[in-house]
Every structure is written in structure tokens, then in C-alpha cells.
């Protein structure tokens, strides 16, 4: 029973895509290095020779891939991501790898574009810069959203086919899709109300909140259907990805995060967890106590290492990034937590002892049993190279094992 051990491990977000996965979709010709990389990584990850030969043959074509061939390439990419998670680490543990895994976003463009491309009502309007030279393709909601196909089903079925570990399915939640979209339709509706005689007293903030809430609750219905179908197909755990949980920071908006979660998950018999990251300067305290009203949520997994020091130690001073963890004790939460122990927006790797100390500190300042304290990277690793990402996953696996040993 893998999850009964202390400090189980999980992947939390994306994994980088190899050049041989992305180039065929960008109509860029593969080169020798792409093929060599595919083969050497495949061997390193323990992919069997037969499928490896098939991949080699497929990549040797270099360009002009059919849709069917592209699908196979995506499946191989998904297989590699799964094997990366299943084999990460130096082997100091009884078993290498992470305990709770997924497809690492290999079958998605990314966490926003994939759902938005598949839900009726959106139109892409261009790219917006998030930070540095990182952008997202923003879509405008031009009419109420409608379900037009399950955008995660194929990915889930492929993952189930290849995974040897327990699987989860991360699903981008309604708050995040709303927050990363342009809310044209609902803003227009609300502006129209203001123009009418009975809406003249509406304040700018009530217009914008009203537009956000209407959009979110309409989206929740669509996402609920996606999840319900996944659960019918065998998905046992759904991770609701809510990176935008802390974006709108009013009390009403924090309550809306919970309302959206409850609306999305109601009536579905599955295990639900929540991932969020990169809050504003107020930290995760913005969400309390409201998130504790998320009825079906068993686990909260947040990013902490981004704000932490690279020093060893389990004192408050040595772990500045983890102070928000105390909120869970303060509010009496004692179910499950996932703690981000690897900062993902740098190639700098923390020492193994630092990762261990981050885990031990989390155990010290919460009332969570170690077997319910999951260890994970802060967030998705898609901006790192495969080499760095694999090392980071390895640090998660090994750091958790070091913490287990320290408990004994």
C-alpha cells in the first residue's frame, strides 16, 4: 500500500515536452538530435525496446506527419512523462519514483488553452505576457459557455493504459478559466444593466464581480460534466487546478472560489484535491476560512519553495517560504496537504537536505499525519528542460525518503 507510508509523493503540474513532441505540431522538421534524444531518454526511463523501435521508426520520417501519427507521438510523449514520474530519484527509497502521477500535460497544449479550445463560446484574441517572456493565449468569452466534448477523456484512457502507479486527473477549474479569459460577454451584459434605469446605481466593483460570478457558475456546469464522465470512465482522483484562486482578492471572490468548487464537484463520487500557487503578497491567508467549506476536498497542495531560502534547517527563520502552512493548524484542518518543496522557475536545485528539512518543517507546523502529507514540486515543470525537471522530480522522491528516515 504505497500511500500508507509517511510523506507520499506526487507530481503536481506539467512536465516539459521534448522537441520530438512539439515540432511535428509546429511543422518543424525533426533533426538527428531529436531522434537520439528520444531513444536515449526512452532507454533511461526503461521504455521497452519494441515500442522504442516503433518510436524510432516514426521519428525517422522527420516531417509531414498525419494526424494518426501525431496521435502516436503524443501517446509516446505521455508514456515518457509517466515513466519519468515512476523512475525519478536515485533509488535510495525502496521503490524509485512518485506515488501519485498523471500524464504531465503531454496530451494538452497547456492547462488553459486545451479546455478553452474545447468549450463552445470562446474566441482566441491574442497573447498576453504573464512574466518574463512567458505568455498565454487569451480567449474572449463571447456567449455563454457550452459543453462540446470531453477534452480530457482520451488523455485519461491513455494514462490508464500506461501508468503503473496511482493516477489522478488535474482539471482546470472555472475560476482560473474565467480569470485568464477576457470576460467580454458578461461584462457587456452587466454594463447593459447599468445603462438601464434600474441599474444606474450599480458601482463599478459590483458590475465586475457580477460579471465574474455569472461566468464562473456557467463554466462550472460545463466542467462538472467533463469530470462526471471521467469518473464514470474510472478516474478516482480529480485535482482541481486553481492557480487563480488568489487572483481576485476580495472576500466575495474568495467565497466565489469555494462556491465554484462546490458547484463543479457536487454529486460526483470521487476524491477531489485542490492545487494553487503564486499568491499575491497576502499569501494563502486570503482563502481562509472559506476554502475549508469546499465540501469534497480532501487535500490542498500549494506552492511554498518559491519564497523559501536555500538554507538547511527546520526553524521558522530557516523556512520563510513555509509560514503560511501554519494557517492549516490555526483553522483546525487535519485532512491531507501537498507541499511544494521545489521552486520550479529556476534551474537551481536545492540540496537534498534542504528538501528533507522543508518536509520535516511542514510536519512540524501542521497537524497533518505524515502519511497524509504529500511532497511535490511547487507547480508545473514545463518551463524547465527535461534534464532539470527529472532532477527535480528526483529530489522530491529522495527528499521525501530522507524525511522518512529522519522520522524513525
Amino acid at each position: 500500500m504505497r500511500q500508507s507510508k509517511p510523506f507520499p509523493t506526487q507530481e503536481i503540474g506539467s512536465l516539459p515536452k521534448f522537441g520530438w513532441r512539439t515540432k511535428p505540431f509546429m511543422k518543424i522538421r525533426l533533426d538527428d538530435n531529436d531522434v537520439k534524444s528520444a531513444i536515449s531518454w526512452g532507454r533511461r526511463l526503461g521504455v521497452d525496446e519494441k515500442p522504442l523501435n516503433e518510436l524510432k521508426g516514426l521519428l525517422s520520417k522527420r516531417e509531414g506527419y498525419s494526424n494518426e501519427e501525431k496521435k502516436r507521438i503524443v501517446e509516446f510523449s505521455l508514456l515518457y512523462a509517466i515513466r519519468m514520474q515512476e523512475t525519478a530519484g536515485s533509488g535510495i527509497s525502496v521503490e524509485r519514483g512518485l506515488d501519485l502521477i498523471w500524464s504531465g500535460e503531454q496530451a494538452r497544449t497547456e492547462m488553459y488553452q486545451t479546455p478553452v479550445s474545447s468549450i463552445d463560446g470562446f474566441e482566441f484574441i491574442g497573447r498576453v505576457r504573464s512574466f518574463d517572456n512567458k505568455y498565454w493565449r487569451i480567449a474572449s468569452i463571447v456567449r455563454p459557455p457550452r459543453f462540446s466534448g470531453n477534452y480530457h477523456m482520451e488523455e485519461f484512457l491513455l494514462s490508464k493504459k500506461h501508468a503503473k502507479r496511482k493516477l489522478k486527473v488535474p482539471v482546470t477549474d472555472a475560476i482560473t478559466i474565467m480569470a485568464w479569459s477576457d470576460n467580454s460577454h458578461y461584462v457587456k451584459v452587466w454594463e447593459g444593466r447599468r445603462s438601464s434605469s434600474h441599474g444606474a446605481g450599480l458601482s463599478p466593483s459590483s458590475i465586475s464581480f457580477g460579471a465574474r460570478r455569472d461566468f464562473v457558475l456557467d463554466l462550472a456546469k460545463v466542467i462538472r460534466r467533463v469530470i462526471r464522465e471521467l469518473v464514470v470512465a474510472g478516474a478516482q482522483e480529480i485535482q482541481m487546478d486553481i492557480p487563480a484562486a488568489t487572483q481576485y482578492q476580495t472576500v466575495e471572490d474568495s467565497k466565489l472560489v469555494t462556491e465554484a468548487f462546490n458547484e463543479t464537484t457536487k454529486g460526483i463520487d470521487a476524491k477531489f484535491s485542490v492545487h494553487s500557487c503564486y499568491p499575491p503578497r497576502y499569501g494563502y491567508g486570503l482563502l481562509f476560512p472559506y476554502i475549508l467549506d469546499m465540501k469534497n476536498c480532501i487535500r490542498f497542495s500549494f506552492e511554498y519553495a518559491n519564497r523559501d531560502s536555500f538554507n538547511r534547517g527546520v526553524t521558522d527563520d530557516s523556512r520563510p517560504g513555509f509560514q503560511d502552512l501554519k494557517l492549516f493548524r490555526e483553522y483546525g484542518f487535519n485532512k491531507e496537504l501537498g507541499i511544494g518543496v521545489i521552486h520550479v522557475h529556476t534551474d537551481r536545485l536545492p540540496a537534498l537536505a534542504v528538501v528533507r528539512d522543508r518536509v520535516l518543517y511542514a510536519a512540524k507546523v501542521t497537524d497533518i499525519s505524515p502519511k497524509n502529507l504529500y511532497v511535490n514540486p511547487d507547480c508545473g515543470l514545463r518551463t524547465r528542460s527535461p534534464e532539470v525537471a527529472y532532477s527535480m522530480l528526483g529530489l522530491v522522491a529522495d527528499g521525501a525518503e530522507m524525511a522518512r528516515r529522519a522520522l524513525k
Binding site: I125, I138, S140, N183, S184, A200, P204, Q247, P280, G321
Partner: protein, 341 residues
């Protein structure tokens, strides 16, 4: 005399309406692609620089076509990856810290970490702006964070109080502004979201606001620059009327967050943040002009800068440029109604 909603409104003749941007502009799609190609090693730094130059050129051309009164380079360079980059790059005592969400947006900044006394080189901002745009005809507008925003979003490991940090930054900024003034820059705008985007704390106390005002005064002392102060992402009404006592030439309001009907009378200039810089919905001219008309005693302001509510970087370039055109059309409509055209 025009009747709009429940308000009766009339213009003083020759109200001065000016057009201006307020900060970071979105990159052209080609520039977006170039930055990604550069990161992946597909193009060199030289080609990337050329693309940014072309991008600035396009923005300047549009501003001139639309008769913008102030010119902006749109911070279209990697020297402004976020609003703090020139300071975390060039100020002694300040380094780049963790990645933090920028207010209630899906954009992020690296928090400045203040590790020792802040020492400005004097040319940190100068090195980060497009100096070729300095001319006698259109003043170049430089946009930097105000002392409060810098102090609140920094991690202070040295000064021990927000107030001390705010004044340290103000002193350092004065060096920078002096340098800009000597080299032909004539206008600085402080971007001040921290004043109003206080989603949980409520407004600053009167005493704290007085300190902010004093820090702004300190930073501008003897620089000879014209100045503006634009709080955005929040409702400025709780600061009325004292917001208009802040020692700058033009005081700004985000009219997508602030009820225009609550603005106080003032003889200062007004930065009217009228077009929603965060929405892809390009407001029609009648919506924009209605927001302006709702301002009581608009004619009393020394001048009115018609601007987006905040930087336009939160929408794609095509949308941003369209919003600029609507601002220009709005001015034309208002001037025609005013009889000043």
C-alpha cells in the same frame, strides 16, 4: 447643455483634453514570437533588439497618428520585464526576489529584495527607456512605481519599516529623475496600485497617506519634471478629496473601479483612466464619454488626460491599439461637444 442619466452637465469652453498612455504596452505578436525564438536559441540578441525597435516604432507611429500629447515607449524592451526590473538590475542594495502575483492579475513580478542601503546609479531608468523619443514637440512620459508600491511589494531586509524604505526609495528615485530631467525628459508618472488595490486592508490612514505624499514630494524635489500620480486596480473614492492634494501636476483615477460621480472638484490636472486596460471588450465611444461626463465639475480641472485605466499590457496588442483609437475618438467627440475644436 447635455443631460446624461440623472446628471446635468455642461462644459466650460476650451477644456483641455490630452491623450496619453499610462505604462507598459503589450508586445506585437511578432515580438512575442521573437522573444520565444531568442529563448530557444533560434535567433540572436541583435535580431531580437531589432524586433523591439520595430515594435516601439509602431507604437510611436500610432500615437502620432492619433495625436497623443505625450509619447510613450510602452516599456517595450526587456529592461522592463516587470515594473521593478530597472531597480532590481541597477540599484545597489536591491536584488531580484521571488515571483509574486501582481495584484489581482494573471501577471507576476519578481519582488525587489532590499538587502542593504539603496544606492541609485542615477541612470538606471535612463538606461531603460527609449531616449531617442525625446524631442521638443511631444513630451516623453516615463512611468515608474510610486514610493508606496515599491515599499509594499519589496521584501525589506534592511530598513526595518515601510516608511523608511519608502523614503529611501524616494531619495534614490530623485537621483534618477534629476538625470532624466537634465537629459530632456519632462514628465514622470507614478504608477500607484498599492494605494487603492487594498483588497483586505482598507484605505491607508490619513497619517500614512500624508507620508506617501511627503515621499512623492521628496522624490520630485528640484527635478523640474512635470508629474502625475495614477492609482489603479482599485477604488480611489475613499481618498477623496485629499488624493488631489498629492504634490503632482496630474492626479489619476481608475474609472473602471471608481465611481466617476464621486470625484471631487479640483484645479489640478486629472488623469482619467477611462478605458478598461484589463478587458478585451473595446468600449464604444459613448461608454467612454459617458464615464467622463459623469465626473462632476470636469471643467474645473486644469486639464484632463484621457487614458486607459492602467497599463494596456493585460490585453493583446491588437486590442490595446484599438482602445487607443477609441480614446482618440472620445476626445474628438468631447471637443466637438465642448466647442473647443
Amino acid at each position: 447643455m447635455l443631460a446624461t442619466g440623472c446628471y446635468t452637465w455642461s462644459w466650460n469652453k476650451l477644456t483641455r483634453f490630452l491623450l496619453s498612455l499610462t505604462g507598459c504596452h503589450p508586445r506585437m505578436e511578432e515580438t512575442v514570437q521573437a522573444t520565444q525564438d531568442w529563448e530557444r536559441g533560434r535567433i540572436g540578441a541583435h535580431l531580437l533588439r531589432e524586433m523591439f525597435d520595430r515594435d516601439v516604432g509602431q507604437l510611436v507611429k500610432l500615437q502620432k497618428e492619433l495625436s497623443f500629447d505625450f509619447l510613450s515607449d510602452g516599456q517595450l524592451t526587456m529592461a522592463w520585464q516587470d515594473i521593478f526590473t530597472p531597480f532590481t538590475s541597477f540599484f545597489k542594495g536591491v536584488k531580484k526576489g521571488p515571483l509574486i502575483r501582481w495584484f489581482n492579475t494573471n501577471t507576476f513580478f519578481y519582488a525587489p529584495v532590499v538587502q542593504s542601503e539603496i544606492v541609485a546609479p542615477g541612470d538606471a531608468v535612463w538606461r531603460s527607456i527609449e531616449t531617442s523619443l525625446i524631442s521638443d514637440s511631444n513630451p516623453l512620459k516615463v512611468v515608474i512605481p510610486d514610493p508606496l508600491t515599491f515599499a509594499e511589494l519589496s521584501e525589506d531586509e534592511y530598513y526595518g519599516s515601510k516608511e523608511r524604505l519608502m523614503f529611501a526609495y524616494a531619495g534614490a528615485i530623485r537621483e534618477e529623475l534629476n538625470h532624466l530631467g537634465k537629459h530632456g525628459v519632462s514628465y514622470v508618472q507614478y504608477s500607484a496600485p498599492s494605494l487603492v488595490a487594498r483588497f483586505r486592508e482598507g484605505r491607508l490612514s490619513r497619517e500614512d497617506f500624508a507620508q506617501v505624499s511627503l515621499a512623492v514630494r521628496e522624490s520630485l524635489k528640484k527635478t523640474g519634471l512635470e508629474s502625475g500620480y495614477l492609482p489603479f486596480f482599485g477604488d480611489a473614492a475613499p481618498y477623496f478629496p485629499e488624493l488631489f492634494e498629492i504634490p503632482v501636476d496630474d492626479v489619476g483615477v481608475d474609472l473602471t473601479e471608481t465611481d466617476a460621480r464621486k470625484l471631487p472638484k479640483s484645479k489640478k490636472g486629472l488623469i482619467a483612466g477611462v478605458a478598461n486596460g484589463r478587458s478585451g471588450y473595446v468600449e464604444p465611444v459613448d461608454v467612454l464619454s459617458r464615464r467622463l461626463r459623469e465626473i462632476p465639475s470636469l471643467e474645473k480641472y486644469h486639464r484632463v488626460l484621457i487614458t486607459p485605466s492602467c497599463d494596456l499590457r493585460y490585453v493583446p496588442r491588437t486590442v490595446a491599439d484599438e482602445k487607443m483609437r477609441r480614446l482618440a475618438e472620445t476626445r474628438s467627440v468631447l471637443e466637438e461637444e465642448d466647442g473647443s475644436k
